[in-house]
């Protein structure tokens, strides 16, 4: 079981980067998902979508080279790659909701074995709002959850989410520092096992019923 915080993150985002295919349009949520951009394999040319209104999000600008009119969806200074395109919010969500976005990667508070996702509020506590998350999860062709397997020792992968949902039954894949899980019609399948991790550890850290297939393979990182 990986213990180091940075190593956990690295395993998660590296695995997700390896999932992306040449030519895909990808939206990376705020926080850990953003880091996926740093691990895209060579030869794989993806385009990043930014909810606030463009495709072709580039790396952060150097200090002093910021353009006040280019920011990412988190309002941080950003750049665009060559061949980018800016547009309004209606077009931004036409792309998302209309099925033109290949992959969305986002964090979660909870996920469950039916592919339900909760990531936008904790009643009575934190209510940041859903932003574009509900549209992203409903609209993207592939929904990948990037998160640590547990929070404060509690599992985040449940039989049934208890927090208000972001969307019902839309998650395709969960990537944690313990492995890769896929939501299938039969249930949640552990398809890949993280380095330094045992199946028993994953099962112990998961409330959801995990299907362990015979062809379980090491995590592709």
């Amino acid at each position: 079981m990986i213990q180091d915080k940075d190593r956990k993150r690295e395993v998660i985002v590296k695995r997700i980067a390896n999932e992306l295919k040449d030519g895909e349009l990808v939206n990376l949520g705020i926080g850990m998902p953003t880091l996926v951009a740093n691990y895209i394999p060579e030869g794989i040319d993806i385009l990043l979508h930014s909810e606030n209104g463009f495709v072709g999000l580039g790396p952060s600008p150097k200090l002093g080279e910021e353009d006040k009119d280019i920011v990412n969806a988190g309002s941080q200074p950003a750049t665009h790659v060559e061949g980018a395109a800016f547009f309004d919010s209606a077009m931004s969500f036409t792309i998302i909701r209309g099925g033109h976005l290949d992959v969305t990667v986002l964090g979660a508070l909870q996920v469950d074995q039916e592919g339900n996702l909760a990531n936008w509020m904790i009643p009575g506590k934190m209510v940041p709002g859903m932003g574009g998350a509900m549209d992203l999860v409903v609209g993207a062709k592939k929904v990948i959850v990037a998160m640590e397997h547990t929070a404060k020792g509690e599992t985040k992968i449940l039989k049934k989410c208890s927090l208000p949902l972001t969307a019902a039954g839309q998650v395709d894949m969960i990537v944690t520092e313990m492995g890769v899980m896929k939501v299938t019609p039969k249930g949640l399948v552990l398809t890949e096992l993280a380095p330094e991790t045992t199946v028993e550890e994953v099962i112990a850290a998961t409330e959801a019923e995990l299907i362990i297939p015979e062809d379980l393979i090491p995590m592709n990182v």
């Binding site: 930014s50 009119d69 309004d88 919010s89 969500f93 940041p128 709002g129 409903v138």
Partner: protein, 214 residues
């Protein structure tokens, strides 16, 4: 028809209790001078339609801090803790709308549509109180238009007739908000003569714009 006014003149259109749609996304592409002028005038009980509630010290977030708003209709309040505090203290009503649904609801108001069907929000609290329709075996929520009394817009280049060009990521909700209000006030970053913006590059045609300030 001279649409160019002082900010003071523009404020005549803004009254207590109005519904005001404001362009911008986390304070980028937001008409800052108009935001400040509304605070200086002390307008009260605004219902705000915007992507988000900005930051405490930037964008429409200042209205929240200064208690100009009684209700916000936004997709996100996480960057302005004051919004959350006022919501929890029941000082402020907050309607959270998924961002894509917000864009379509505002657009529907501008386009004369009675509503749109979206799959976003199905199976979540967003569907509470809303009509569900089944089209081709798939469930959708009927989401209704969001109309405003006034829209406050930020244009990167505006000509004296009111044609607007938005630079890069400042476009976001601005052109949609500009279709949705009875009175549209644009704050021009750069004001140019009519004809200086190529007609093909205009993003908000002048016909939507009532007042231009600088």
């Amino acid at each position: 028809m001279n649409k160019i006014k002082t900010i003071e003149q523009a404020l005549d259109y803004i009254k207590d209790g109005m519904t005001i749609a404001v362009g911008g996304f986390l304070a980028v592409g937001t008409p800052d001078k108009l935001i400040d002028a509304v605070i200086a005038k002390g307008v009260k009980d605004i219902t705000l339609i915007c992507n988000d509630s900005g930051f405490p010290d930037r964008g429409v977030g200042k209205w929240v801090v200064n208690k100009n708003v009684k209700r916000v209709i936004v997709s996100h309040i996480g960057t302005n803790p004051e919004t959350g505090r006022q919501m929890n203290e029941k000082e402020l009503e907050v309607e959270l709308v998924p961002q894509g649904t917000l864009a379509e609801r505002v657009r529907a108001a501008g386009a004369g549509l009675g509503g749109i069907l979206t799959p976003t929000g199905i199976g979540t609290v967003v569907e509470e109180g809303k009509q569900k329709l089944n089209v081709d075996g798939k469930e959708y929520l009927l989401e209704l238009p969001l109309k405003a009394d006034v829209a406050l817009i930020k244009g990167s280049i505006v000509d004296k007739k009111g044609n607007i060009y938005y630079s890069k990521a400042t476009r976001n909700f601005n052109p949609i908000m500009a279709t949705s209000a009875d009175v549209v006030i644009v704050e021009a970053e750069k004001l140019v003569e009519v004809g200086e913006i190529d007609p093909t590059d205009v993003m908000t045609p002048s016909i939507f714009v009532d007042v231009i300030v600088q």
